[in-house]
């Protein structure tokens, strides 16, 4: 069966133009999708049934037993942590927040290790952003700062920015300038018109220098700012000021380097300065598939986008205190439910060690690094392949994903709903 207009379930681009060939319960070919999309659809490392750790071995358990065990572990915990959520749909995330509220748990998503600082900066100074459609149709200057879309979002340049013909930019890359700022040469910098090679940790200074130039203070800039020559800074600033429409995209190279959220604040303020001359926007390169959706869903329900602590009976948010890394590092949490993500592959060693010591339950379709830290794993359908649901693109556009074939696995939503019902029965409304 050939299915058109399929939404990719991998990165934040949520490409919605894939053509997928399905035979039975197997995806046999993927057209238009990048390598990451192809592997996501055709990968076959699914866990076949729920598994429970028994000493140094695993043994399969039924879904009912796995759900009951999960609910009991969460009910018995004093400080449970519900982490992940970026690989699943908004409906499941919604149940997750309600479950956290019922349990008095901390619920956090993968923003905590990616664009959490971006959100904190946006809470301070706002977000002069736009949808990717606007960038595609209008932008003639594209800036990638601390981001390498060719590796992480392979189709970003061909679908939304540099190479796509736009309504007002007919000549695509012939009319567009691409500026890359990074601490190393990357695949993206290979095809950039201007590459600012910044010394590690120097982003804040370079952003400040650009702001000074935009404000007409180029004469106070020293010869080099964090490894970038003054002449290049002036050239880049003029390129941006002379743009008809500019768009900055920033990645973890900016959010997770020295300065963290202050870097993003500075970048947003640079965007504001540039808007004195032309139209300029700034957007984060959200990586995990529906991580933007988890921020949205958490915010609708609790008022906060990530690291929400319900221990006080009300939603409490204090990054650095209620974020997963800090809770695990302090050895504070005594049970962890990981949904649709892989903290084992991304968290510091100390946090992973604590995850292995406490009862950690993983709800994820695939065997991943976190499996090896877990006590129980419940395999589920993959949203966008054999389960449907709503996901948010990196620019905040909600897209309804499709179920390509009837799955033999339950969806995350069904599993979480059952856990919620057991907890609700115990805790009362």
């Amino acid at each position: 069966m050939r299915i058109e207009d399929v939404i990719c379930p991998f990165c934040g681009c949520l490409c919605d133009d894939l053509v997928v060939e399905v035979q039975g319960t197997t995806v046999v070919s993927v057209e238009n999708g990048c390598t990451l999309a192809h592997e996501k659809f055709t990968g076959d490392n699914r866990l076949q049934a729920p598994i429970k750790r028994d000493g140094r071995t695993w043994h399969p358990v039924s879904y009912d037993e796995a759900i009951e065990t999960t609910a009991q572990i969460l009910l018995e915990a004093d400080r449970p942590l519900l982490y992940g959520w970026s690989g699943t749909n908004g409906e499941a995330q919604s149940i997750g927040v309600h479950l956290a509220e019922l349990l008095g748990a901390v619920i956090d998503n993968t923003s905590t290790v990616c664009h959490g600082p971006s959100i904190m900066a946006i809470q301070e100074v706002g977000h002069p952003g736009c949808t990717l459609g606007q960038v595609k149709n209008r932008a003639d200057v594209i800036v990638y700062w601390g981001a390498n879309p060719i590796e992480a979002h392979p189709r970003h340049m061909s679908r939304y920015t540099t190479y796509a013909d736009g309504f007002f930019v007919k000549g695509a890359f012939l009319e567009r300038k691409v500026i890359v700022a990074d601490v190393r040469e990357t695949e993206t910098s290979n095809i950039a018109d201007e590459f600012m090679h910044i010394e590690p940790g120097g982003d804040y200074a370079v952003l400040s220098a650009l702001r000074a130039i935009v404000r007409g203070k180029a004469d106070i800039i020293p010869s080099y700012v964090s490894g970038v020559a003054r002449e290049q800074l002036v050239r880049v600033a003029e390129m941006c000021m002379n743009a008809k429409f500019g768009a900055i995209f920033f990645g973890l190279g900016l959010t997770m380097s020295r300065g963290k959220y202050k870097n993003i604040r500075n970048a947003v303020e640079l965007t504001e300065e540039l808007n004195r001359f032309t139209k300029f926007t700034i957007s984060p390169m959200r990586g995990h598939w529906n991580v933007y959706g988890s921020n949205e869903v958490f915010t609708w329900i609790s008022g906060y986008p990530f690291a929400v602590d319900f221990a006080r009976g009300i939603a409490f948010y204090n990054p650095g205190e209620t974020t997963s890394i800090d809770i695990l590092r302090r050895g504070e949490c005594d049970a962890c439910l990981v949904v649709a993500s892989d903290p084992g592959a991304h968290f510091p060693k100390q946090c992973c060690r604590h995850l292995a010591e406490i009862p950690t339950i993983l709800i994820d379709p695939h065997v991943n690094v976190t499996t090896h830290l877990s006590h129980l794993q419940i395999p589920v359908a993959v949203t966008g392949i054999d389960s449907e649901g709503t996901a948010y693109r990196m620019d905040g556009v909600p897209i309804r994903t499709r179920m390509l074939y009837k799955s033999r696995y339950p969806s995350d939503r069904e599993i979480l709903e059952k856990i919620y019902q057991i907890v609700l029965k115990e805790k009362g409304p």
Partner: protein
């Protein structure tokens, strides 16, 4: 002093002076086999750029858009007058010496063909090549507006997560794909062959 007088007597002869100032040589004429800088023949340029591709001298030729249409322009400081541009042009837009006469008489031509190679180990399937490709832009606007392949006749497309060369025969050798591949995964080889009439079509 004696030797000075000897030399004056030897060289300051009247015959020598008269021959020096009244010498007559044959007028300078370019021989028929002489190959000068290429000039426009008056035929219409179709912007295939084969002249630029064949030219071995950097910066010797470019093709400009003029009010009269596309026109090749020779930079004499760089041109080595090899005549390859004249032979490679499929429309005979340039001429130099007897090149066009002899190729027309012998039925010979320089023929270009292009081979595209994609390294699947390096290709990320980003689609920059297929979206930027000027041949694809003409064939499928959905491709040029974001990478969705909606036409079977595309030169390049992304399939199974990798760039796929579908209709290599449509390649014009512009190397846009090669220049915009971030992973250096795609290379275009320009093959220039000397062929005789009839061979080109085989």
């Amino acid at each position: 002093m004696k030797s000075v007088l000897y030399y004056i007597k030897e060289f300051a002869r009247r015959e020598w002076f008269s021959k020096f100032f009244t010498a007559r040589t044959a007028p300078l004429e370019s021989p028929p086999y002489f190959r000068d800088f290429p000039v426009l023949s008056g035929k219409t340029c179709t912007h295939s750029l084969f002249c630029m591709m064949a030219c071995p001298a950097p910066g010797a030729i470019d093709v400009l858009r003029t009010p009269q249409g596309w026109q090749p322009r020779i930079h004499k400081g760089h041109c080595i007058r090899c005549g390859l541009c004249v032979e490679a042009c499929p429309n005979g837009v340039l001429t130099s010496g007897r090149i066009l006469d002899s190729t027309g008489r012998d039925g010979t031509a320089l023929s270009f063909s292009f081979k595209i190679r994609v390294d699947p180990e390096l290709c990320m399937g980003c689609g920059n090549c297929a979206v930027a490709c000027p041949v694809n832009k003409v064939i499928d606007t959905q491709m040029s507006h974001g990478g969705r392949a909606s036409n079977e006749g595309l030169l390049l497309r992304v399939n199974e997560g990798k760039c796929l060369v579908v209709h290599e025969e449509k390649c014009t050798g512009c190397k846009t794909c090669e220049h915009h591949c971030p992973n250096e995964a795609i290379t275009v080889a320009r093959l220039l062959e000397a062929v005789q009439a009839g061979e080109e079509m085989q």
